[in-house]
């Protein structure tokens, strides 16, 4: 920490160009970020991990029911968007369903009424979500901690009720049925092919998130997370940084939500329900806060687990997912990815000695 702050002294608070380059020092190890711990691993380890990840992504619909694999991709984006705020900006959003769901509805409406190819509809949905994130974020980032969570939750609930009441557009309880999967005449009705159609979009989204946290901007976010007062003292417009992160996060959540809507070919009120926000947070905590890829892992596990449980004949699904959540929080406080990264790092450190 000290290292980095010393290096940023020359900045003198220029709001116009808040130091995209001045403060960056990729060698500076941030205090808590598991992701950057992996980034510190030797090059071949990183490439091997990347290759394994890509192979798993390519193989997934062959090993899983493709509809479930599609859900995992969408939820991976959603989880990463939440982690961007929770893990890298220190803002716990409990209302991210607002962006996921708004984009789902917008995507559905655009796809139904404009008949655009699905990536265009999803993009429209994600942009709509980012637009919604602007006013909500503007008001919410003025608060931190539990108050921030409550404000985001309140706005998400407002969006939920608007969708519930605005029946002429959203079809209310019945849900928006019959969202098409148009793509220049290609037949994507089979989820297996649809998975591969959306995979590039999801990878692009994940890459964007990775770029964001590794950019100078992302480093400032981590700085704000760890010590907002110091960041402010150094001249960073903290609110504006947080707001930008919030809007970017809303966009990514929207990307996931739009794909989710096209994936299921319908949108129900569930996408805006607060339990959806809660599930996103659970996914991130399970995977590991502030690890980015942990969110992807968490999404895969939670979606797969819920799918498996609903066929298992076990009558208390909530008990199982809740129990696992409690166990992870008690025993693996860094989340699954975070714990593994931590162990690897400790072994690496031991070997060096």
């Amino acid at each position: 920490m000290t290292e980095r702050t010393e290096r940023s002294e020359g900045r003198e608070g220029m709001p116009g160009q808040h130091g995209m380059s001045a403060t960056v020092d990729t060698k500076a190890p941030p205090a808590r970020s598991g992701l950057l711990a992996v980034a510190r691993a030797p090059g071949w380890v990183r490439y091997a991990l990347l290759a394994v990840g890509l192979l798993v992504a390519l193989w997934l619909p062959n090993g899983l029911y493709p509809a479930v694999a599609v859900d995992i991709l969408c939820w991976a984006l959603f989880a990463v968007s939440v982690d961007l705020l929770l893990g890298f900006t220190g803002l716990m959003s409990f209302g991210h369903a607002a962006f996921w769901g708004t984009s789902a509805y917008l995507t559905g409406l655009v796809a139904i009424h404009a008949g655009l190819p699905f990536p265009a509809a999803v993009l429209a949905g994600a942009l709509g979500a980012a637009l919604l994130a602007l006013p909500i974020g503007y008001l919410a980032v003025k608060r931190t901690g539990i108050y921030f969570a409550m404000v985001t939750l309140a706005f998400a609930q407002m969006v939920y009720y608007v969708a519930n009441e605005w029946r002429s557009v959203t079809q209310g309880e019945n849900g928006l049925q019959g969202v098409p999967r148009a793509f220049f005449g290609a037949d994507l009705t089979d989820d297996y092919y649809f998975y591969y159609a959306i995979l590039p979009i999801v990878l692009l989204g994940l890459f964007a998130a990775w770029r964001i946290v590794h950019s100078p901007f992302g480093r400032v976010l981590v700085g704000i997370r760890d010590n907002p007062a110091r960041a402010r003292a150094l001249g960073y417009p903290v609110h504006r940084y947080k707001l930008t992160a919030f809007v970017l996060s809303g966009f990514l959540a929207g990307l996931g939500g739009g794909l989710f809507a096209v994936g299921h070919r319908f949108v129900s009120l569930d996408v805006l329900h607060w339990t959806t926000s809660g599930k996103a947070v659970i996914v991130v905590v399970l995977g590991g806060i502030g690890t980015l890829w942990g969110g992807v892992l968490g999404a895969a596990l939670v979606v797969r687990l819920e799918d498996w449980l609903s066929f298992s004949g076990f009558e208390a699904i909530g008990l199982v997912t809740g129990g696992i959540f409690v166990l992870v929080v008690l025993l693996f406080r860094r989340g699954l990815w975070g714990t593994v990264a931590h162990l690897l790092r400790r072994r690496g450190a031991a070997r060096r000695e």
């Binding site: 390519l58 193989w59 619909p61 062959n62 029911y65 493709p66 509809a67 479930v68 859900d71 519930n164 029946r167 209310g172 309880e173 019945n174 849900g175 049925q177 019959g178 009705t189 089979d190 989820d191 297996y192 092919y193 591969y196 989710f260 299921h264 070919r265 319908f266 129900s268 009120l269 569930d270 996408v271 819920e306 799918d307 449980l309 609903s310 066929f311 004949g313 009558e315 208390a316 699904i317 909530g318």
Partner: protein, 410 residues
Amino acid sequence: MAAASAAALLVAGCGGGGPQSGGDSKLTGDKIVLGVLNDQSGAYSELSGRNSVKAVEMAIADFKAEHGDDAVTKDITVETADHQNKPDVANSKAQEMYDRKGVDAILDVPTSSAALKVADVAKEKKKLYFNIGAATTDLTGKSCNRYTFHYAYDTYMLAHGTGTVTTEQVGKNWYILYPNYAFGQDMEKSFSTAIAAAGGTVVGKDGAPFPNTSGDYSSFLLKAPTLNPKPQVLGTMQAGAELVNVVKQYNEFKLREKGVGLAVGLMFITDIHSLTPDALAGTTYTDAWYWNFDQQNREWADRFQKETGTRPSFAHAANYSAAMQYLEAVQAAGTDDADAVVKQLEGKEVNDLFLRNGKIRAEDHRVVHDAYLAQVKPQAEVKEPWDYVKVLKTIPAAEAFRAPSADCKL
């Protein structure tokens, strides 16, 4: 390579829809698989849930016993999944059931949004779906399709029966309290129409917030008896836990003593069981089936109780009946090809455990049957556990359901 071979596998997995040419059996995989997709862990798990799986298993046993060696197959199994009342889960599970689990027909699926989605999946996969758990008339209206049948009940049936008979027999002036969302508003409209047609008046109506997290209905309930003219009937459209709150407060404010009777839009016997009959005594509602109505029902309910330890709700009986009618149709068609089975079912007139004077309408796939106007007994008159209601009137099948809607194009 891997992707290509997997795609081939997938196509092989999906391609089993039509009847097999050649061979002795006309059944895919030489077997019939029924799928029960419903809520097994949430609000609707009591009234249908896993006990509906038991009911379907009973239907399979009865079918085998009835047809013996002539049965089209002896290999009939049940697949089941918990959709947790989430439409997106229902969507994935329905697809997986049809594609991977070899399910020929899906049964139940409560919650309108989930049911409409599953109907969509059935249409796309050209496999059958018998809805039992959802009440929306859209399933036989603008969202109807060739492969979807709507069993048991719908909002029209609930409102029409209770609205008409209560207006004729209890009182002409109504105050309607409904949860302010799609189901509640549909119910309010249907009730108002039925009440007006029976010569009654709705003197007041209010939409309560939904979900009503505070559980407070006092402002509505205190207002009801002060209206002019004073309502003789309070019609509540709340369901499940919200109904419980309305009824508790109705009793607290002693509205019955003030001359305001209670009519309920949707109630299951499991609701009466959890509220106790005294809390609801005198309430009228429309029931699709009642276990203690006659000897046939009772005998079946006894068997059901042996299997499950509880008395059946109408949803359980409807699941039994739908499974039975499907199997009979496959038997008659000699194949599980969905189109051939639909042809067998359409227009069929049926009398079975659940369907009395039943008919599977060809126009909109609404399964019509006699419905019952039921009244909850006070505890003193309850002779045995679960014997909570008396049937005031049988509503003939022709009157109980709406005429086929012009919106429905199969």
